[in-house]
């Protein structure tokens, strides 16, 4: 984007501003304030970290607009993981265009620790503006002017949440883009360390940290470098950069880069793009030195901050003195006495989680039903107006059905992100993590993984999207990989059908209903599997480095409607755009699989269908109650027994209905999906499944509950069958194998339910994991491990059960 672009003017018109800061400094709030409505969401290369860019518009400045990049929250630029490397690479512009300016967001109440990052940026000669955020939460505001004098860069007091100081900040940014402010301060590093660093700075690998732009091989004039550091340590070097075709780097910047390398490079780091010889040089230097390099570097920075920043900060340097606490912090103290109480704290937590669960499970239901009936109505009207045929089928079953499959998730997604926004913005989420950490740590999960796991009981789609609340890639990934194991509501119809059809409605010990017991057992078992999977995957696939958990308990704040709406709509939009398209495409493919090839007697089929359709229409007028599916077999048998008797309209239509359903079952069997079901039969037979179940498993990919209606189709009951359908239950019980044994025994039922409990029979889950991780690798892994787990478990239970003598 920057170099090698022929129009350099265009580059100058739209500089890049990087927003950096510690976690919990209101960085994202400021990002939203600065950039207004829309952010372009992408991904950093190689990691599953979201990259958001928005546009900042200036009034009468040299630049009319700037791109603002929201960097992940970080305490330091020192890096060890690929994920941490994002921060340093983004501010240096190693693999992307370098920012013309960094805006550091700091919490005015936590100045010393927040400015540690500022010090690193200044050492690296990154042009800087500091936004002193949360000025409303400190009683004695920090001395912004004194800080600006000390660091040599502007400090602008703001309250991002209320929008205070935005105009001043925008003006300062505009001015800083015209004349980049580069700080001058340097921490008092020990002389011996400096000598070593000086030597390391000569290494060619240090310059290479700045990326290709600075390699001697490629030497374009870099517009942004021309605008960068003037008059710091080496006026000469920078001045020569203005004329020389190769961008030069000042000696001080090289020293800072060498210091970064020394502090970051390790025997087992995950950093990429580091020259092997630089890696060796750093390791040798550390090994040769008998001093504690890390402590020297970090200690020197804090010595500087303690000495110079602490006196200008709002709070005294040491906390043992009387700390003046602002109103909001005092209120927070009082609320926390309840919220973090051993008894009341957990009670409040349980209550809030119950509300979240209730919202997803019940409150979303009317909206979901409405969406389903709306799409049902749309499909029916399309069928009524369009001529019957393959195109109409594609439109109704494929496209409309697919769109319905996407939109139906929206109520839960919107509600969950409303709940998440409330929990997060109010500051309660950090408390929940604080309370639950001990328990979640034992499972290898982050404290914040609780809400996604709980949401997984309703639906994995919003739950996977909710993993956003965790900062570390490893925590997010692990949670995403285990959430689909929780019993979501789409599994319930299958459990209901199987339990009702195959398990006796008797009571154990006279008072424990067997059917209820099986249902509860399925829930508990899925939880056990989820926790076990977290334990195993967390130690193997997504092991990750042991990192100290760092939590901050921010003061309680009132969430703003603006940020709540923005989060809800933004996430829903991303889901529609990115996961939605995949779900739609999969629905159409599945539809095609189950519809093609059509039966050879296609014309006859259509004739039968149209005759049946017209007779249904007649029947609907004739019959007072709309055609009751439950009575169909009975009526059919009755009419078959009385061939000579005059047939009334209702009976005729029932017969037609029956014929139509039989036709549809045959069509389904004839389709690719049907053939695939038969093809996989040898593989699923050891689990107790026949090819008809095989078709059901394929159909269930659209959504698990579709299994029930697919089985309805397979057994010729029609497509209106649901889990309460009595004829479907009856059919299941009567179904026989070739040897006369019943297909569906309680053992088959158990095997089938276990398969559904564990298998990733949900393309929407895979689509949303793809959207969150931005690669097909993790959805592929998720599908593979869950299917393998399901297969093995079902195999073990079915074969074990048979060995033990259960039918």
């Amino acid at each position: 984007m920057t170099d090698s672009t022929p129009h350099e003017d265009a580059i100058v018109e739209r500089p890049l501003v990087a927003l950096v800061g510690n976690p919990n400094t209101g960085k994202t709030t400021l990002f939203n304030r600065l950039t207004g409505a829309r952010a372009r969401v992408g991904n950093y290369p190689g990691v599953t970290v979201e990259r958001r860019i928005g546009t900042l518009t200036f009034e009468d400045a040299r630049f009319s607009q700037a791109d603002v990049l929201d960097l992940p929250g970080t305490y330091s630029l020192t890096a060890r993981s690929k994920e941490e490397q994002i921060a340093i690479e983004s501010v240096l512009g190693t693999s992307s265009p370098p920012p013309a300016l960094a805006v550091l967001v700091v919490d005015a109440g936590q100045l010393v620790r927040n400015l540690y990052l500022g010090l690193q940026l200044i050492e690296l000669e990154v042009p800087l503006v500091v936004a002193l955020n949360m000025m409303d939460e400190v009683t004695t505001p920090p001395d912004a002017e004194g800080l600006a004098r000390l660091f040599g860069v502007p400090f602008v007091p703001i309250v991002a949440r209320r929008g205070d100081g935005m105009e001043a900040l925008t003006k300062t940014i505009a001015a800083a883009l015209a004349a980049p402010p580069v700080g001058k301060v340097r921490p008092p590093y020990p002389q011996a360390l400096l000598a070593e660093v000086e030597q390391l700075a000569q290494h060619s690998g240090v310059l290479a940290l700045l990326g290709e732009r600075h390699s001697p091989a490629r030497a374009p004039i870099d517009a942004l470098d021309l605008a960068s550091p003037a008059g710091v340590d080496s006026d000469e070097a920078t001045a020569s950069a203005r004329v020389a075709p190769c961008a030069r780097v000042s000696a001080a910047r090289l020293r800072a880069l060498a210091l970064w390398a020394l502090g970051s490079i390790d025997e087992d780091d995950e950093l990429t793009g580091i020259e092997p010889s630089l890696r060796r040089a750093c390791l040798e230097l550390r090994a040769a030195s008998d001093r504690d390099v890390d402590a020297e570097i970090i200690g020197a920075r804090y010595r500087f901050l303690d000495e110079h920043v602490a006196p200008l900060a709002a709070t005294p340097a040491t906390s043992d003195a009387v700390v003046e606490i602002s109103e909001s912090r005092r209120l927070t103290e009082r609320v926390d006495r309840v919220a973090l109480h051993p008894v009341w704290g957990f009670a409040l937590f349980a209550l809030l989680m119950l509300a979240v669960f209730q919202a997803l499970f019940s409150w979303a239901d009317p909206a979901i039903t409405l969406i389903e009936s709306l799409f049902g109505w749309l499909g029916a009207s399309a069928r009524a107006t369009l001529p019957a045929g393959i195109l109409t089928d594609l439109l109704v079953d494929g496209v409309l059905g697919g769109a319905g499959n996407v939109v139906v998730f929206l109520p839960q997604i919107l509600l969950l992100f409303l709940a998440l926004g409330l929990l997060e913005d109010s500051g309660y989420m950090a408390r929940a993590a604080y309370l639950m950490d001990r328990i979640m740590k034992a499972l290898g999960l982050h404290g914040r993984a609780f809400v996604p796991l709980l949401s997984g009981c309703a639906c994995a789609i919003p739950a996977i999207m909710a993993t956003r609340t965790m900062e570390r890639e490893r925590d997010r990934l692990l949670t995403m990989l285990v959430v689909p194991l929780m019993t979501c509501s789409a599994r319930l119809p299958i459990y209901t059908l199987i339990i009702a059809a195959l398990f006796p409605a008797t009571q154990l010990f006279g008072f424990v209903p067997v059917q209820g017991l099986v249902m509860v057992g399925m829930y508990l078992l899925s939880m056990l599997f989820t926790l076990a999977a977290a334990g195993v995957l967390g130690r193997t696939v997504v092991r990750g480095r042991r990192m100290p958990l760092v939590l901050e308990l921010p003061p309680y704040r009132l969430p703003t409607l603006r940020s709540l709406l923005r989060q809800m709509l933004g996430r829903a939009g991303l889901f529609l755009k990115e996961a939605g398209t995949v779900i739609l495409a999969c629905t159409i493919v599945l539809w095609a699989l189950l519809s093609f090839p059509r039966l050879e007697s296609a014309r006859m089929t259509q004739d039968v269908a149209s005759v049946a359709a017209s007779s249904v229409a007649i029947a609907n007028v004739a019959a007072s109650p709309p055609n009751e599916l439950a009575s169909v077999p009975a009526i059919a048998t009755a009419t078959a027994a009385l061939p000579a008797s005059p047939i009334c309209g209702t009976l005729q239509s029932a017969l037609d209905e029956d014929a139509r359903n039989g036709e549809r079952a045959r069509r389904l069997e004839h389709s690719y999906g049907g053939r695939l079901g038969k093809f996989i039969e040898p593989a699923i037979a050891p689990l107790g499944f026949d090819w008809k179940i095989g078709i059901g498993l394929l159909g269930a990919f659209a959504a698990r509950e579709v299994f029930v209606s697919t089985m309805g189709l397979v057994y010729g009951i029609g497509d209106g069958a649901d889990e309460e359908s009595l004829p479907l239950r009856a059919k299941l019980k009567l179904e026989k194998r070739a040897d006369g044994e019943p297909v569906y025994t309680p053992l088959t039922g158990l095997s089938l339910m276990l398969f559904f409990m564990l298998a990733c029979q949900c393309m929407s889950t895979l689509a949303v994991v793809k959207r969150e991780t931005r690669s097909w690798r993790w959805p592929a892994f998720l599908f593979a491990y869950m299917t393998a787990l399901a297969y093995l478990t079902s195999l073990l239970v079915y074969q074990g059960g048979r060995l033990l003598g259960f039918a």
Binding site: R113, Y116, A295, G299, V323, L549, E552
Partner: protein, 74 residues
Amino acid sequence: MTLADVALKQPMTVVAVGGERGLRRRLMELGLVPGTTVTVERVAPLGDPLELRARGCTLSIRSSDARAIAVAPC
């Protein structure tokens, strides 16, 4: 004596930070360098994590990590 076993609200001085390099560097970068005054403000109901206050800033870390920080009364 480590930070994991000090009494609440008792001002302590960090004497040394130990542990594996990544953990140690991270703890120090959060401000827990030798010589820093730190107090344990609160312990979560289940005994973990600990809420610390140093340099007017607060943060919570796990007691297993706090065990890497040697302290002495100041």
